[in-house]
Structure formats: structure tokens, C-alpha cells
């Protein structure tokens, strides 16, 4: 059974809950990407390469920005779900943001986000659809799991933050210096997301 988490992000209306699930060892990435390219409405998800996501706070910053822009009628891309992928990017190039942060044919670890933009989209309907649509292992959407899949070198490159100290990846992230480095990187990513386009 899929571990689909439904977030009620503070400041967003309760009518717009956000459903999030994290998968490892996804087998059908090429198929999923094809559905996005074809504009298949059943597959209207934000499909994010989870190796480009550092922490929950990183992901929620992008989701919040996209939903806020959606509510204010300021979307730059096709819909709120593509906007979530675009919002992860610090740059203004939409196609480029999909290449860097979106699903690719070879993506193994996948973050799936769906916003309840219409009343038919509920926790149950999303969970049921994901169970059949995604061939992969459902894992909890938390910082610990993300730290196992995120590629810090790639993230730093995408955000042009090469000068920052790198926290050691993988789970053993215990030292204070490591924690500080990770926190500083996380806050730099969140800041870059907030600032894009201004």
C-alpha cells in the first residue's frame, strides 16, 4: 500500500490539500514521463527526481511557492503541478528546470506531488491511482529517507552553491558541523526558491 501523505501546509487554504508520496526503485519512469509529455490528464502530477530534493523543507518551499502563484493567477508554466517542478529551479528557464528537477527515463527515486485543485482529487483517489500507476517501493517522505537518495553534488551544482561546505550524504549525519552545513545548504536552497524571478 502506498504511503501517501496529505499535507495541510500552513497559510494555504484547507480546500487545497497537497498529496505527497516518495518512491524508490521506480521501474516505469520512462512510461510516466511519456504520460506527462502526452498531457494525459490522469497523470497530472508533479513528478520530481528525488535525488534533487535535499529535505522536506526544500520540497515544501517549492510546493508553497507554486500553489501561492497558482492562487494569484501567476503560473508561468502549464499547471500547478508543472509549476512545482519549475519552482524548484533557481533559474527562469522552464524547459531547463524540467530537465534538472523533473522525472527522466532513468529516474529511480521519485517524489510525486498532487494538489487537490478540484474536489474529485482526494487522498483516496490519489492513493488508488498511484498504487496502479507507479511501479516502485513506497517509502516515507521524511528527511532521513531523503538524505539517502539526495545527490548533494548535483543539487549544489544546480543552485550554483559550490562554495558552500558539503554535509556528508547518506544517513550518518550526526556531527554538529555536518548538521550546520546541511542546515545552511537547506536555507540557501529555500532562499533561492523564494527569490526566483525577483
Amino acid at each position: 500500500m502506498a504511503q501517501l501523505e496529505t499535507l495541510a501546509l500552513p497559510h494555504l487554504p484547507s480546500s487545497l490539500p497537497v498529496h505527497v508520496a516518495l518512491y524508490c526503485d521506480v521501474q516505469n519512469s520512462a512510461f510516466l514521463k511519456q504520460q506527462l509529455l502526452e498531457g494525459n490528464a490522469d497523470f497530472e502530477y508533479a513528478l520530481v527526481d528525488a535525488s534533487m530534493v535535499l529535505t522536506r523543507a526544500h520540497a515544501t518551499a517549492a510546493i508553497f511557492r507554486a500553489v501561492n502563484d497558482y492562487m494569484n493567477g501567476r503560473l508561468m508554466s502549464r499547471n500547478v503541478h508543472s509549476e512545482i517542478v519549475f519552482s524548484l529551479s533557481p533559474a527562469n528557464n522552464i524547459a531547463d528546470s524540467f530537465r534538472k528537477f523533473g522525472i527522466a527515463d532513468a529516474t529511480k527515486d521519485l517524489l510525486v506531488v498532487r494538489v487537490s485543485v478540484s474536489p474529485e482529487i482526494t487522498h483516496e483517489s490519489v492513493a488508488a491511482h498511484l498504487a496502479t500507476a507507479i511501479q516502485g517501493t513506497s517509502v516515507p517522505f521524511d528527511d532521513e529517507t531523503l538524505s539517502e537518495v539526495s545527490d548533494i553534488t548535483k543539487i549544489k551544482k544546480a543552485y550554483k552553491l559550490g562554495a558552500l561546505p558539503s554535509p556528508s550524504s547518506k544517513t550518518e549525519c550526526n556531527g554538529t558541523a555536518d548538521n550546520d552545513a546541511k542546515r545552511r545548504l537547506e536555507l540557501s536552497l529555500v532562499g533561492a526558491i523564494a527569490l526566483r524571478g525577483s
Binding site: L9, H11, N72, R184, G191, A194, L195, S198
Partner: protein
């Protein structure tokens, strides 16, 4: 006082009308209102700075000014977080406002990391009051007390040095815009006021990116004047701040040299206008 209680702040801009519980108004200035609310994680607090629309200004001008100011503030903060200077991080920003063109935009907002602790102004006020209340103050106690304040001033100088090193000037350095974030865990046992903690710079509403000695010297001069006028007992210890500043980065010496010029003439170099 009744009239003060009846004051109603302007309505919150979207999306904070949804926020439950609603943000709490902490302070307001001429340009902005500061609220306490939660970050995107409901269990961590956050500071929300709102620059409301000014109805007496032409709407296009209002939008442009508000937008450029809040963006300037956010850019400085993001840059400083990257450089590792202790400032509140930017969590989210909306500089475009709500609704379409002109029509009733609620103003721009900036969501920031919440910093716990008192501002340095309060710490120094409490310390000065405590010192004043001691009738028989032994010389050794007085010296050790002053050493503690010197330590605080030195850390303030180091933090300001780190700010300038990163290429940002604050524009409004006072003891109200420095916070003392207590360390986690136990604090020192002391009758007097605690000086332990990390110095965090706040309120970058007037900050700009500059690496000129003149701007840096003016920052220090404003700080010096602020301490001189609000903390008379602390004023003689100001040299510790400059000492901490001097040792914090390479260009500090030339900024301090410029400070001597600024002291002679005041902070406005050009007397035009």
C-alpha cells in the same frame, strides 16, 4: 490608552487570511508590520514582515517602491545566509502582490526564520539598570561585569565584520537590530544579566550591497551614535566592538580609518539636498 487598543492593523494579504491560528502582530513601523506565525512546518515559528500598500501614493509608484525594497531586503538576507553570516533566513517571498493590476493589492510580504531571544538593546538596558542598583559594587565585580559586556561588544563587532566582509551594509545598525540568541542548554549562573548567546543581525529593510569603506564606516558610526545615546554606561566599552570588528576581516582597517573622517563630519558626505 483606549484608543491604542482599538487600533486595527490593515487586513492581511493573501494567503495569510487562511492562516490558522492567525498571525500575531508584534510591532509596526512606518514601512512594515511584523507578525509572528508558523513556517511551512507547523511546529516551527516564523516571522512575517508585511509592507502594506500606502494608499496616499500613486498605485504604480507604490507597487514599484514596495516591490524593490522588499526584494532588496530578501536578496541581502539570502546572500548572507549563503555566506554563513548569522541573519534570519528567507523562507518565502511575495513581491508581486495579489489581484491584478493596481486593483487593491494587499502589499508585499517576506516570511523569515524566527529568531528567539532578546534584542541587545534590552540586554544592555537590563545590565545598566542592574549596575545602577548595586550600591556597594566591589571593584573586582565591576571589572568582571564590564569584561562580560566587552565580550558581548566584541562579538557584535565580529558579526558586523562578517556582514561587511560579505559585501552587505546594514544601513540602520542599532542595538535594537541585533539580537542575542541564547545557546541551547544551560546558561551561566549569574546574578546579573546573561550575555551568553549568538549575535544575530535583523531588519535589513535599509540594507544594500556595497563594499565601499564609506558605507561601512557609516554603519559603524550609526552604531556608535546609537550606543552613545541609548546606553551611556556601555559607551566607554565601544572600543571592544571596534576591536572585534578590526580582527574580523582584511578590509576592516581601512573602514575604521574612514570612520575617523565620518566622526568629524557626520554620516552625510554630500550635503546636497
Amino acid at each position: 490608552m483606549a484608543t491604542l487598543d482599538e487600533y486595527k492593523p490593515p487586513p492581511l494579504p493573501a494567503p495569510f487570511t487562511n492562516t490558522n491560528p492567525p498571525p500575531i502582530l508584534l510591532t509596526q513601523g512606518a514601512e512594515a508590520h511584523l507578525y509572528k506565525t508558523t513556517s511551512l512546518n507547523p511546529s516551527t515559528p516564523a516571522a512575517l514582515k508585511i509592507r502594506p500598500t500606502k494608499p496616499y501614493r500613486h498605485p504604480i509608484l507604490d507597487r514599484r517602491l514596495t516591490r524593490s525594497r522588499i526584494v532588496q531586503e530578501a536578496r541581502c538576507l539570502v546572500k548572507l545566509v549563503k555566506e554563513g553570516v548569522s541573519v534570519p533566513a528567507v523562507l518565502a517571498l511575495d513581491c508581486e502582490g495579489q489581484g491584478g493590476e493596481e486593483a487593491s493589492w494587499g502589499g508585499a510580504w517576506l516570511l523569515m526564520e524566527w529568531i528567539e531571544g532578546p534584542v541587545v538593546r534590552v540586554v544592555l538596558e537590563q545590565w545598566e539598570a542592574w549596575m545602577k542598583a548595586q550600591i556597594h559594587l566591589e571593584e573586582t565585580v565591576r571589572i568582571s561585569e564590564e569584561d562580560r559586556v566587552r565580550g558581548l561588544m566584541r562579538r557584535m563587532g565580529e558579526t558586523i565584520g562578517a556582514l561587511h566582509k560579505a559585501g552587505v551594509v546594514h544601513g540602520d545598525l542599532t542595538t535594537s537590530n541585533l539580537m542575542l540568541q541564547p545557546f541551547e542548554g544551560e546558561s551561566e549562573a549569574n546574578d546579573s544579566v546573561s550575555m551568553e548567546g549568538k549575535i544575530i543581525l535583523i531588519d535589513f529593510g535599509l540594507a544594500s550591497q556595497s563594499a565601499q569603506d564609506e558605507d561601512r564606516a557609516v554603519d559603524l558610526y550609526v552604531m556608535e551614535r546609537a550606543i552613545g545615546s541609548t546606553h551611556p554606561r556601555t559607551e566607554p566599552l565601544f572600543d571592544s566592538l571596534l576591536q572585534g570588528y578590526r580582527e574580523s576581516y582584511k578590509g576592516a582597517v581601512s573602514a575604521l580609518k574612514r570612520l575617523e573622517d565620518v566622526r568629524l563630519r557626520g554620516r552625510k558626505r554630500s550635503m546636497l539636498g
